[in-house]
Symmetry: D2
Subunit: 377 residues, 4 copies
């Protein structure tokens, strides 16, 4: 069994976000992290550090325009030299003054066309960087009752999405992200999984829903949404992070590791996460106060731990207990897996592929941060 | 204009719930209200009082088995004599010991069949009482991780619903109700509008979603859900009540009248609520501490007031302001309607049809409560 | 170190609630658990089963009038024969028709006096059963704006509490419980820790605050409240349970074990929980769907596990990391303790005092439940 | 009666925030508002516009360092020439890199002293600008478990506050602001009114609590906190704004006007808000999407409307109804006041002091915005 587990976790790969390696913050202030990456190349350089110590990075998700470079082939080659690929492409529909009153939902035909064009440009970039996933977060919404006409906006959104969807190649997937609130404070056009699901049905099989763990109302049972979307073949991916209050974007697993584990328990019923046939697993954190590479290593490790724990669930015994409506035993089977310390398995699997068992510690001792602080200032 | 409004509100009718006229409470205690109705006939008698003073009651929603009588025709005739019809039929899937581990999702074929049979019996009752709406709230869910298999339960639910749906006549509508939590505390099988919507799509055009105002996570923008469901032809009805915290089931409009008004503003875009072609508008309150008939009159009046205010919105001016992205003016147009005191219109419309302009005051002075307290004990 | 830990956990005792052994439920239905206890003696009999398999029960908290018996000495003797004491005494201020509009805050002098008298009776019972803790949960509140005068109610509450407080012996402690909402749905007179704290300051040193883990708004950082109250010498005890939504009263640790662990990390800074000098640690669950004794054993074990994990925190290293503002290392020290599987320590400690290492399994196999189902029906 | 009301509202004055007249936004983007104020003088110029059309501005709250000028007397004179005073002084403890790990709670003596010195400088500025209110919002908190030692931080905070408090003149008031979360996402040192209250008790009579309407958990009954703090003589003031989700900082009254009205109903029990003896009433919005002056006029008007409505409550009748526990009548008395359209009273009171009855419309037509857009770019 432990050998099985080790092979599983060795083949469990996640995407890291380029934007997780640069300074971020709140509306109140962006604190500076010494040595934080300043451009796409430096962000990939830092992502490679995460992979160096974990061998768990499948790709680096990029954000346009933040990661725009003159020559995409150069960036792909730079990544490949570091053993990395470029992953999901994320358009930016929230930082242009023209999007003040909406991007894909803007009433102004020109501004809406500009937003669509930006996404189409991202599809071109996908071709250049050999990415198969377009990850679309729509910040559109309104702040006050009356500000917008909900139905008209929804209708414009569907039109915009159809234009985008039809421009995508057959092997590309469109991930529609939903969010409860922020930056809009009255209504958000894609406020919940239900809307994202309905939109993805309007489009077709290559449109799916992406779940960001920080984008729900308090109390939402996210693992149940995972089940619903998976059984309807509409789960497309994750933005992994943690939150205690709103969209806090904390490092993965830092608030309720049990919830993360239960999400993996559901995922295992539908996917082999150690294979290629799986939803996009992307970390999306902006750990404003933590050194960026350390924070990302923490997030990768939290995902590995949750995944390993989830594999320990005795599914046969669980099914039997469920059939008897033995609630206590069913829960104990789940808890037994969660309470088991899987770190020895993780450490051994690292050693078997030539890594330091203590990925975070090894990176901290490597001197990389200090040298980058000097180099990048 | 005011004549228009008076005609509108005269023709605006809502259903009142039979269960709103009997004692109710919390898990801690059910306080006794002197004279509260004890059976279906008394509940209709009390509903007729609401109609007597408001002329705004379209029908009385019934709950099976609470309202079960020996001869349905007797109850229909009794209602008709009071000027009332029977409205939506509500099955009860939460009070039988056999449903401890689920009703329409129960793993046990016999118990699941029992639950389905109960709903089928309700469809028979619909025929007997000439009701066209089956209002289905599914309390099923689990309390602990591991207790149930989400996907298996969802699959059983779809099977059960298909059996129910196929037994319904072509002119009957199935309303699927969703609820965030309670009585289940870990997961609820129909937890949100997205699930109810997807299920209604699985079934067909006569399956729709019913919105209970108390069944959402904190912060949810309900009027936006109204818009989404309406534009997708899946809004089937409402259970009107108020809540500050969870599913508090308070009288309508008692927490945030502005939210109720905004819901009506959306509804007006899709429906003429003074006509017959509209979603089922059902009050669903259990005002544990208030005298029942008074509480229902308050709820009816809150709906009338919110409806009248919503009709005051200058939709032309609003559209123009929205096209200019004039947020302040758009909001002012909405607020202007809300801030207007529509009670004079309501009072005049009552007088014009021979009612006391002060419905609540007239009922309070009528002596009905005192006589019922004596008669019913 | 492990020997230290084993001694610690052997001496870590919690109170179990008598009411946790009888049927409970939601406002929708109370499902029957076969063999559930029907009176105070049976409840103590069942509590003794929890202690038999865990040796972790310090006392049985009782609820008046549910646990009222003809002769208190008989009940004390019965408990003592089972190796148990009676613990915190909990008055009931929510089930009498006279308390419909308030108990300790009732405007009616007679009804308020009746409520006070009930609590004074409980203080007498404390003397009879040698209990030192009066655990006061006040359900008082209002459902609608205008229903009550906040300030007048608060003033009456202070008067009532002063009468109660002055009747207590010098070695008795009054614990004031707060709750965000339910059964009142507009305002609750003791809605949060701040009010309970201010009231306890009004009274004196023997009045303290008790924290029920299910009585907070979503997102509340409970471990921080633990710290604030402890540092101000006003933390009096806990009602341990779990919730995902509202006051769900689930078994301890079933929603977020990390939060429970963090609460113990704070407690360790102020108290030695393996000693007698500590806050009242009382389980307060009403696991409606689970067999009662099993559910309580689960809760006891969750507390033992959280306590053991909390003892593993390397507080020296943590202090050093905190002084360096090394957020990542500080968090890793906390997480390292949490991720360690302490069940081997718990099992060994059980074996050393003659218990089965698998408390829950041993009880399940004992046949007690089956025999009680037969005996009690 | 109406004359009374008109006099009341004529003498009802609120502070407007200087920062409400400059660009603001979310962490995602700060959208530009054409002509928004760029410095302290322009902000006062814009505040004067609000006063010009409402005559309801008592003072302009300032924020240091944003409003720092070379010569404070110049700014005071500039304001006085516009008919305005400077109001509450707000230190900024969140935008300096030295405060990354805390300001008044920083473990580093030098950084903590720097934060204290900044507040002491603000007290000096209070003397220069003849302000009597120091309005202290502490952003300090942590993002991850383990990051900080709660109790040590609290102890440092008390020390820092004592230094600040002792530097204040006898006629100065320290307002302590609390906030549920943000910018910290695990714990906030002054997370709720209870902490702010306890701190204010530690300091003395001139320390009080300020309530920001956006700084609470979902569902919190704010009007009850108003009552509790007022009856304990610790309510010091308000930061008025609206929120649907988190600290959305929307214009006042835009989400739930009824809640605002109920807050005023409570305030009237303790204060004459048309007099000088009242808590500091400060608008604190950052209406990112609305033109700033218009947004502030909307907020002023929302406060005037809520205040006028609250004055309509028939307190005698309410007291009688409450004494009878007539919940329905009590609520109706409250609702009757709320449903009354007070805008005619407001308009007449404006006309009587020479204002345009439509303050917002008059400003919109004045051309001020257009000329500022040209002048300020």
């Amino acid at each position: 069994m432990r050998n099985d587990l080790k092979e599983k976790v060795k083949n469990f790969k996640v995407e890291v976000p380029s934007w997780g390696f640069s300074d971020s913050g709140t509306r109140f202030h962006v604190f500076q992290i010494p040595g934080a990456a300043r451009n796409a190349f430096e962000r990939i350089e830092d992502a490679a550090q995460v992979d160096k110590y974990t061998k768990a990075v499948s790709a680096v998700a990029i954000h346009i325009p933040w990661d725009r470079v003159d020559n995409w082939k150069d960036l792909v080659r730079f990544a490949r030299d570091k053993g990395l690929k470029l992953g999901a492409v994320n358009p930016n529909l929230f930082q242009d003054e023209d999007y003040k009153f909406g991007s894909l939902t803007n009433l102004d035909d020109k501004k809406r066309a500009k937003a669509i064009d930006h996404v189409l440009e991202c599809i071109d970039i996908m071709r250049s960087v050999e990415s198969k996933v377009l990850s679309l977060w729509l910040p559109d919404g309104t702040d006050y009752p009356g500000q917008g006409d909900f139905a008209k906006r929804q209708s414009l959104l569907i039109d915009s999405l159809k234009k985008i969807y039809s421009a995508m190649a057959n092997d590309m997937t469109l991930l529609i992200e939903y969010k409860f609130f922020e930056p809009a404070f009255y209504h958000t056009d894609t406020a919940d999984w239900g809307i994202a699901y309905a939109l993805s049905k309007d489009l077709g099989d290559r449109a799916k829903v992406i779940i960001d763990l920080g984008h729900h109302a308090q109390g939402t049972n996210i693992e149940y949404i995972v089940s619903i979307l998976s059984s309807r073949a509409k789960l497309g991916g994750f933005h992994f992070n943690s939150r205690k209050y709103a969209d806090d974007d904390l490092t993965v697993g830092s608030v309720n590791l049990y919830e993360l584990f239960l999400i993996f328990v559901e995922l295992n019923k539908f996917f082999d996460l150690s294979s290629d046939k799986k939803p996009a697993l992307v970390i999306d954190q902006s750990a404003a106060m933590k050194p960026k590479i350390q924070a990302t290593i923490q997030s990768v490790e939290a995902l590995q731990i949750a995944y390993l724990k989830s594999l320990l669930v005795d599914t046969k015994a669980l099914e039997t207990a469920q059939l008897k409506n033995d609630i206590v035993l069913s829960e104990e089977i789940i808890k037994d897996a969660f309470l088991t310390d899987v770190r020895p398995i993780l450490k051994q699997s690292r050693e078997e592929i030539g890594l330091d068992p203590d990925a975070l510690g090894a990176f901290r001792k490597s001197g990389y941060e200090e040298s980058m602080a000097l180099k990048r200032g």
